[in-house]
């Protein structure tokens, strides 16, 4: 199994006629993922690489039983696109858009919470399940196999690029992934590390999870709390990048918008301590992910499913 996406996922792309979407759509179709519909207002009736385009999400849902939407629209249209998907009953939405105004992000996340809708992102590379060859987002680019091979490890990353690199490290260690998810580089996002750990805990095929983290937010501290409460019992291997930022003047952002230290909030050293104290395998060096995985899953080498 995997989390969030599988053979039953019926995907639509909002903003399918845009420049950015065209590349994602061609890579996604080439990978073997079905895209049932696209939505762009005013372009209903057209086709994009064989995918029928509709004016509204409601039409697409009615005709194709859409249950997941990938949103690839410019920042000014992201809030409305999410609200439209939610109002059409879609329960899984991936928002790739970067630089959505914070007030809009607050609104779309609030609307999603009210209706129990899962939002991945905003500002995310998306997620991939290599066993079922289904991906949502730009994740994997033109050659997903390079980094994402089927296996028994879950990957969660606050960086899109590092979702690929970390999954590649899993492959280098001799394993593969059930699902790899880039949760988005902003501080205001829909699905946090903790939320995904809960899902990975329930997934039979996932035997360990690797996380890539950065300065800023309380996502790691919240995950540590979940471990302490017994909500995640599988091995968790965690790496936190950006330790150097602690010696820089406070409030300066390096990398993603969400990577800001404020007082004690967001310090990599404190995140590492919280995770360590809760029983996670916190690696000091990124390369140590490989040996940590081999130790944790060592007994299972050779029987990767």
């Amino acid at each position: 199994m995997s989390i969030l996406i599988n053979q039953n996922t019926r995907l639509a792309v909002q903003g399918i006629t845009g420049r950015e979407a065209s590349m994602i759509v061609s890579h996604t179709l080439a990978y073997g993922t079905n895209i049932f519909a696209g939505i762009t207002p005013g372009k209903g009736g057209q086709h994009v690489q064989g995918v029928p385009v509709y004016d509204t999400v409601a039409e697409a849902v009615k005709k194709h039983d859409i249950n997941a939407s990938l949103i690839v629209v410019p920042p000014a249209f992201a809030l409305d696109a999410v609200l439209e998907a939610i109002s059409s009953g879609i329960k899984l939405i991936v928002v790739t858009t970067e630089n959505i105004p914070q007030h809009d992000a607050v609104k779309l996340l609030y609307a999603a919470r009210k209706k129990n809708v899962t939002i991945i992102g905003p500002n995310t590379v998306g997620m991939i399940n290599p066993k079922d060859r289904i991906k949502m987002g730009s994740i994997g680019g033109d050659r997903p196999e390079r980094c994402f091979v089927p296996g028994n490890v879950g990957v969660i990353s606050r960086s899109g690029g590092m979702t690929a690199e970390t999954s590649w490290m899993v492959k280098r260690a001799g394993f593969g992934v059930t699902t790899s998810i880039g949760i988005g580089g902003d501080s205001l996002i829909g699905t946090k590390i903790k939320d995904l750990l809960v899902l990975f805990e329930k997934d039979n095929e996932t035997e360990a999870v690797v996380t890539f983290s950065e300065p800023g937010t309380s996502f790691e501290e919240d995950a540590a709390q979940l471990l302490k409460e017994g909500g995640f019992t599988k091995p968790l291997i965690s790496f936190v990048a950006g330790k150097f930022t602690e010696s820089m003047p406070e409030g300066t952002v390096f990398g993603h918008a969400g990577a800001m230290i404020s007082g004690n909030t967001g310090r990599p050293s404190l995140k590492m301590k919280a995770l360590k104290d809760s029983g996670a395998h916190v690696v000091e060096k990124y390369d140590d992910i490989i040996s940590a995985l081999q130790t944790v899953l060592g007994a299972k080498v050779g029987e990767v499913k």
Binding site: M23, P75, A76, N99, I100, P101, Q102, H103, D104, V106, K107, L109, Y110, R113, V125, S138, I139, G140, G141, D142, R143, R146, S157, R158, S159, G160, G161, M162, A164, E165, W168, M169, R172, G185, S187, L188, F212, E214, P215, T217, S218, A241, G242, K243, F244, T245, M248, P249, G251, T252, V253, F254, G255, H256, A259, M260, G263, K285, Y286, D287
Partner: protein, 399 residues
């Protein structure tokens, strides 16, 4: 994010009906006249950072001579890395009580939050911990304004009553509307003053606007320092030049931050990969000369401009180029951009250490371009940390 100077935020407050002290901006003490001193005045360094009082950059004066003398003192200061070239001159108000109110977005609950207290002159963070009963933390539902009754409840819970309650409640609603209207990430009034004649006035304001939302606020053009969270001091000339390189083409991102000193030119990405690469060099005892994050498939010219900028900094003796395995950034385009830059600068990779770790889209062609230029190239054969170690090894020959 975009910080605003205090005179700008106060002008906006005033336009929206929030009482503020009369103010003027001066850039030289000789500009101060009797006209400014009809009442005692406050002089504040006009810099985009907080805690100016602690830094000694807020002073009081009763006469023109005193004001000029103190203005000169402030104009000679550097407050938390920002040299002061302007002073905000304000009428001193007759303070009875000092209150505090801020509106921000609560990152945990992901909704706007109003924080208010009538305890003045204290650090709000400390108050939250030590005397939570003296503070009101009030979350507001998105999609709605702050209703007058909610605003009234907030101040009433703090014991405010009578005419001040009515005024404070009205002002907080106005502040909340400003917060929404201008896409603020922060609007802080510290202190919000209750004067001796029962007026409520915003004596000091901090307003920050989300620069992702600036497209819908053309009226703020030139009033907001965009990207202010990316630097802890005014931008250097080289940083300004690199902003231009980035802005010249909308494709791909390129951020350049200068470090103090350093030997290794740092050309890495993306958001997480650059953090990892920088940590890796530091852990190996090396000193990067800058922090550059680039990604999102930048065009060749952008890569060339950025590389030239990185190499132009004094003291740079090598170049480290690394990315995570890319999802969409084209390695061949990247390679052409870098090779063009070193050729134009006459940099010889045989003498000037360059280590590249680039894998992803079109990396076979990228590899060929790098190797042909004599650059040490690694792809999927090494991890980012292993490549950083190769870089540091190569630097031993030149530093």
């Amino acid at each position: 994010m975009g910080r605003m100077l205090e005179n700008v935020s106060k002008t906006i407050l005033k336009e929206h009906g929030v009482p503020v002290p009369g103010h003027a901006v001066i850039s030289g003490s000789e500009e101060i006249t009797e006209q400014h001193l009809t009442k005692p005045c406050v002089l504040k360094a006009l810099v985009p950072v907080g805690k100016r009082g602690k830094a000694g950059a807020i002073k009081f004066a009763d006469t023109v001579e005193e004001a000029r003398y103190k203005a000169d003192e402030i104009l000679g200061m550097t407050v938390r890395n920002f040299p002061v070239d302007k002073v905000l001159l304000e009428e001193k108000i007759d303070i009875d009580e000092e209150w505090y109110v801020s509106i921000t977005i609560d990152p945990q609950k992901q909704v706007p939050v109003v924080i208010a207290t009538t305890e003045g002159g204290v650090e709000v963070e400390d108050l939250v911990k030590d005397s939570p009963e003296k503070i009101v933390i009030y979350h507001v539902e998105p999609f709605a304004e702050l209703q007058p009754y909610q605003s009234k409840e907030i101040w009433s819970r703090l014991g405010v009553t009578g005419k001040p309650l009515v005024k404070a409640a009205a002002i907080l609603c106005k502040l909340y509307n400003i917060f929404l209207r201008y896409d603020c990430y922060i609007l802080e009034i510290n202190p919000l003053v209750l004067t001796r004649d029962d007026e409520v006035m915003a004596a000091a304001s901090v307003m920050g606007v989300d620069d992702s939302a600036l497209y819908r606020h053309p009226e703020l053009e030139g009033k907001v320092e965009s990207g202010s969270e990316r630097s802890w001091r005014p931008l250097t000339q080289l940083e300004k030049d690199m902003v231009k390189v980035n802005d010249a083409d909308y494709r791909g991102t390129a951020r350049y931050t200068e470090m103090d000193g350093g030997e290794i030119g740092f050309m890495c990405g993306g958001g997480g990969g650059s953090l990892l690469s920088f940590d890796a060099l530091i852990n190996l005892g090396a000193s990067p000369a800058n922090y550059t994050e680039t990604g999102g498939n930048p065009p060749e010219e952008k890569v060339t401009g950025l590389t030239k900028g990185i190499l132009s900094k004094e003291g740079v003796k090598g170049l480290f180029v690394a990315h995570n395995i890319t999802n969409n950034t084209q390695i061949d385009v990247f390679a052409r951009g870098i090779v063009k830059a070193i050729e134009e600068l006459g940099v010889d990779p045989a003498e000037f250490p360059i280590v590249v770790r680039e894998a992803g889209v079109n990396d076979e062609e990228g590899k060929r371009i790098f190797l042909e230029a004599g650059i040490t190239y690694f792809g999927e054969d090494l991890t980012i940390e292993e490549a950083a170690a190769e870089m540091v090894k190569k630097m031993r020959g030149v530093s």
